[in-house]
């Protein structure tokens, strides 16, 4: 079982309490009515599906109930870090430091 650090509870807790919520840092369109069908398709359905360092959202649904962001390596399944929703994503240099 994965152990996930909740940045709100500040505790590392079992995966069972959490729910995965898709890729993180996807901005909502500023002017939805001006978007073409292709742009809508990309916004709604097209995701990175990255091999390696992946930015993703999780929700501590059976705990404090908060959404937060996580950086996980999709190859090793290791979490590099988790951080509160609304805070900027860690820089590449910071991630490299965490990955060591």
């Amino acid at each position: 079982m994965l152990l996930i650090h909740c940045p709100y509870c500040d505790e590392t807790l079992p995966e069972l309490e959490f729910a995965y919520a898709g890729e993180a840092h996807i901005d909502r369109p500023e002017d939805p009515s001006a978007m073409t069908d292709e742009e809508w398709r990309d916004f709604l359905f097209i995701r990175n599906n990255k091999r390696g360092t992946h930015f993703e959202r999780w929700r501590h649904i059976n705990g404090c109930a908060r959404f937060f962001n996580a950086v996980r390596d999709t190859v090793s399944d290791k979490f590099l870090t988790t951080y509160k929703a609304g805070t900027p994503r860690p820089s590449d240099a910071e991630l490299e430091e965490l990955g060591k």
Binding site: Y8, P14, L16, E17, N62, C64, A65, R66
Partner: protein, 185 residues
């Protein structure tokens, strides 16, 4: 409290199936409070207990207690007769400190779990590290597949508050696990 077992149609209040004592606690008043932490001082005054700021913190006065479940979420516990008094005092601060106070008294049933092996019994279905839950605190977590709020009074006394509809499952599971403890499995 009279809780009917849906299979046997008998009121149940306690079970003695093993070394751990399982008791259904009497009805109480429970409120779910959502409030901006900036308004915590006003809410503490209205309720009469200093609401804990840390998630998992559980503060008590003589007859009332409050547990912090999330960054802006608390559960307030009080005696059954206190319901209207609490509603009235929170209504008094609503214009200054907007909040949501929801009566969830009837949504949940509380089970008290006491005995030397209470923590061992809970490990049957609770994924948390129970040693990390200090006496006098509590958390929202899972029990098997049901969401519960788990309180730890002392090292060998716990309380589970579970939604009414999940109660039969949790109760039967506790009884079966207790029998397993008794039989040395």
């Amino acid at each position: 409290m009279n809780v009917q077992n849906p299979i046997q149609f008998e009121p149940i209040t306690a079970a003695h199936s093993g070394p751990v004592e399982l008791t259904i606690l009497p009805e109480a008043t429970r409120f779910n409070l959502r409030i901006d932490p900036a308004g915590l001082a006003a809410a503490s005054t209205a309720f009469g207990v200093d609401l804990p700021e840390r998630i998992g913190g559980w503060a008590e006065s003589a007859t009332r207690s409050a547990i912090c479940l999330g960054p802006d979420e608390w559960v307030l516990l009080a005696e059954e007769t206190d319901r209207q008094a609490i509603e009235a005092s929170f209504a008094g601060i609503y214009s200054d400190v907007p909040h949501s106070l929801t009566d969830i008294s009837d949504r949940e049933i509380a089970i008290e779990i006491t005995g030397d092996r209470a923590a061992e019994l809970l490990t049957v279905a609770c994924p948390r590290n129970l040693d990390a839950i200090a006496p006098g605190s509590g958390v929202r977590t899972l029990f098997d597949s049901a969401q519960v709020v788990l309180y730890r009074d002392t090292s060998d006394k716990f309380r589970i508050e579970v939604w009414r509809s999940f109660f039969p499952h949790v109760w039967e599971l506790l009884i079966i696990a207790n029998k397993e403890l008794a039989s040395g499995l």
